[in-house]
């Protein structure tokens, strides 16, 4: 009897179970991406005083399907000088980690593909692996824009991994668990956004950076590197990138909803049936996703050096401070309102600090700006070449100006 049950079609039962779950994830990802692209296009179109897709299907509902069909039937182009293996493997290297991160995502109590006791750790680890695919795509494409985009992506995603993880660590410390289910159940009355407002905002910021969304869409910047690592991709490979992009947006949104917004808990600890709980998680996740779309429609893009200094000079110290203070509160058993006080005060100061820094930013001296140019020109002279006449003239004027400031006229 037991033998019969555990072997179906000659395979052990858990194999079939695993296959069913994998198929479920793939279906979920595809449907999600179809839905999300439609919603994004509609939402952004409304913000931009446009209508968005209206032609295919009722209210343009079939537009994503039409897009998907177009992408599937498109010719699979590959640059002649591309590094063939790297180029072809890159979409998978991005796709598979995202796919695997889906495994540990819970939507309602006991509702998920797998409930892992290290769920948060697993998801964050998996989503950060996809950076390898970005670099592969950038390197393999044999395109300078792609290379530049990949270099930016590597710098950005590695930097923002730290504040992202640390902001989640703050929550994990309070909950004393890395199991997403337990973290959600701990927020029966008070979601962690109340205790950790700073952590939540850092999470959302880092999430935008990890997703390469505006204002951190530097690796794929349309007006600078024209799509970055994806510039040479087309057809089905490009659609895999697209699939990954929206899937990871969904992953981060559900993760944020689960660990900061209380997941499937209704406010004030009311208990409802499974479907309403599921709906509640999705509503919270949708709020996060919609805010991502909203920010995308209204924000300009940061520059790479501003992005890096934002992460290393502001977000990482703040998250460390928060982790440290959480530790103090938890070790000495102070009331949890202290968590809120510290986090809130730090958030207000951070916001004020950003505003002041931007408004009072002093002019970057021209000498400093020309420094790297001078170094480059010297290196070129060493190699027996000379920069263009105008650059030489600029450097000469720079020297004269420096001489003039060194010896002020009487």
């Amino acid at each position: 009897m037991i033998a019969l049950q555990s072997y179906i079609f000659g395979l052990p039962w858990n194999w079939l179970d695993a296959i069913i779950r994998v198929v479920l994830i793939v279906l979920l990802m595809t449907l999600l991406v179809l839905g999300l692209t439609y919603i994004e296009r509609k939402v952004i179109a409304r913000i931009q005083l446009r209508l968005g897709p209206t032609r295919s299907g009722p209210a343009g509902l079939l537009q994503p399907v039409a897009d998907a069909l177009k992408l599937l039937t498109k010719e699979d182009l590959r640059p002649a000088l591309a590094d063939s293996w790297v180029f072809q493997l890159a979409p998978f290297a991005i796709f598979v980690p995202t796919f695997m991160a889906f495994v540990a995502l819970p939507y309602a109590p006991g509702w998920g593909i797998r409930s892992l006791s290290l769920g948060v750790f697993y998801i964050l680890a998996m989503t950060s692996v996809s950076i390898v695919g970005w670099v592969m795509a950038g390197w393999g494409s044999d395109n300078k824009y792609a290379l530049l985009g990949a270099a930016r992506a590597a710098a950005q995603m590695v930097s923002y991994e730290i504040p992202l993880v640390l902001s989640v660590v703050g929550v994990a410390m309070i909950s004393r668990s890395l199991d997403i289910g337990k973290i959600v159940n701990d927020q029966g009355h008070i979601p962690y956004i109340v205790l950790q407002p700073l952590g939540f905002f850092i999470f959302v910021t880092a999430m935008l950076a990890e997703l390469n969304r505006t204002p951190f869409d530097i690796p794929v910047a349309e007006s600078e590197v024209v799509g970055g690592p994806f510039i040479e991709y087309s057809g089905i490979r490009w659609s895999m990138f697209q699939l990954t992009e929206y899937s990871s947006a969904f992953i981060y949104a559900v993760l944020g909803a689960d660990i900061f917004l209380g997941g499937w808990n209704w406010p004030l600890g009311y208990h409802f049936g499974l479907w309403l709980q599921l709906l509640w998680t999705i509503v919270k996740a949708s709020l996060l996703i919609l805010s991502v779309f909203w920010i995308r429609a209204t924000f300009p893009r940061l520059r790479i050096d501003q992005l890096m200094s934002f992460a290393w000079k502001l977000l990482i110290p703040l998250t460390f401070a928060q982790v440290f203070f959480n530790g103090l509160v938890l070790v000495y058993g102070w009331p949890s309102v202290f968590l809120l006080v510290f986090s809130g005060v730090a958030l207000v100061f951070a916001a004020y600090g950003i505003q002041m820094t931007v408004r009072n930013s002093v002019r970057r001296p021209r000498e400093q700006r020309m420094d790297s140019v001078r170094r480059w020109a010297e290196a070129r002279e060493g190699a027996g070449q000379a920069p263009s006449p105008l650059v030489q003239q600029l450097l000469r004027e720079e020297r004269e100006r420096a001489g003039a400031t060194a010896a002020p006229s009487p």
Binding site: I47, S372, V373, V391, L394
Partner: protein, 372 residues
Amino acid sequence: MQQLEYETVDLNINMGPQHPSTHGVFRMVLTVDGEVIVDVDPVIGYMHRGGEKLLETLDYRQGIGIMDRTDYLGNFNGEQVYCMAAEQLYGFEVPDRAEYLRVICTELNRVASHMMFMGAYGTDAGVFGTTFTYGFIERERIQRVFERLTGERMMYNYFRVGGVAWEPYDGFERDIRDVIPLLRQGIADFNGLLTTNEVFLARTRNIGAITAERAIDYGITGPMLRASGVKYDVRKDEPYSIYDRFDFDIPTGTTGDCYDRYLVRLEEIVQSLRIVEQALDQLPATGPLMPERYPRMLRLPVGEVYSRIEGPRGEYGIYLVSKGGNKPYRCKIRPPSFCNLSALREMTVGEYVADAVIILGSVDIVLCEVDR
């Protein structure tokens, strides 16, 4: 162990002519050291259509159509300067009503051009299309009026040597008076969307700054020069047409960076709307649109003339040489954005790759006018 010798080569990035943010078919060959631009080689000429040569083969009436096609965002301004050059050479007295109509058209065209700049500049800075649609919707309001006035959306061909072609339609004034408050609202929208946005500030302030002396050396004119702090505007310094009858200010910046250029253009929209309102108030209800004694075939006397106006991008000049006859012997256009573009290398060297896009956007080039 074998010592490997590596040679460091410069990474040249070819930006354009097919690039979303080079505003047409402009090409920049950037030499980058990491993310820092150490040299930039601007390449122009992809849009060259021999416009100046073409003008020599067309008579003065037909030449106006070519002027439409040089600066396709400030068409009326192009028509105006060409007509003015021919009028100066012949000695036409342009009727008052025609002058007012010209001022209304050119100023509204300046507003439309600057609105377009606002939209495109936001896109350069990385806003996903929102500023673009906002800019376009404001431009569209003006375009609608122009379309009803001239029958065309871009290539108006409405001015004539000596005046304007036909009477404006009934309700022309009312339409413009309706549009002006909406445009003011549009400026408020841009203030909310870009002017006070921290990311926009961080991206545009202290970027691509050029000092007043260097700007004058390069022959930069228009909003770029005024952003550097030089209060120079042909409409004030050498009032042509009837600009001495209006009360308006010349906005200037202080540092000459990209943000100042943006602010100067935003303020210029306000001033242009002021001029339009005054012109509408003073517009004579009736009157001729062309000089009374007008030859059947316009032949200019032998001579040469340089006339200039303040276009949306700067001083738009025409050097017209006539050897008699109904066609110009030589018609040299001084295109403002071509001259402004000459400072690109000085502004860009030493900045980051991402800033090259912002700086190029702040020049507000129109490639048809650069290449002619």
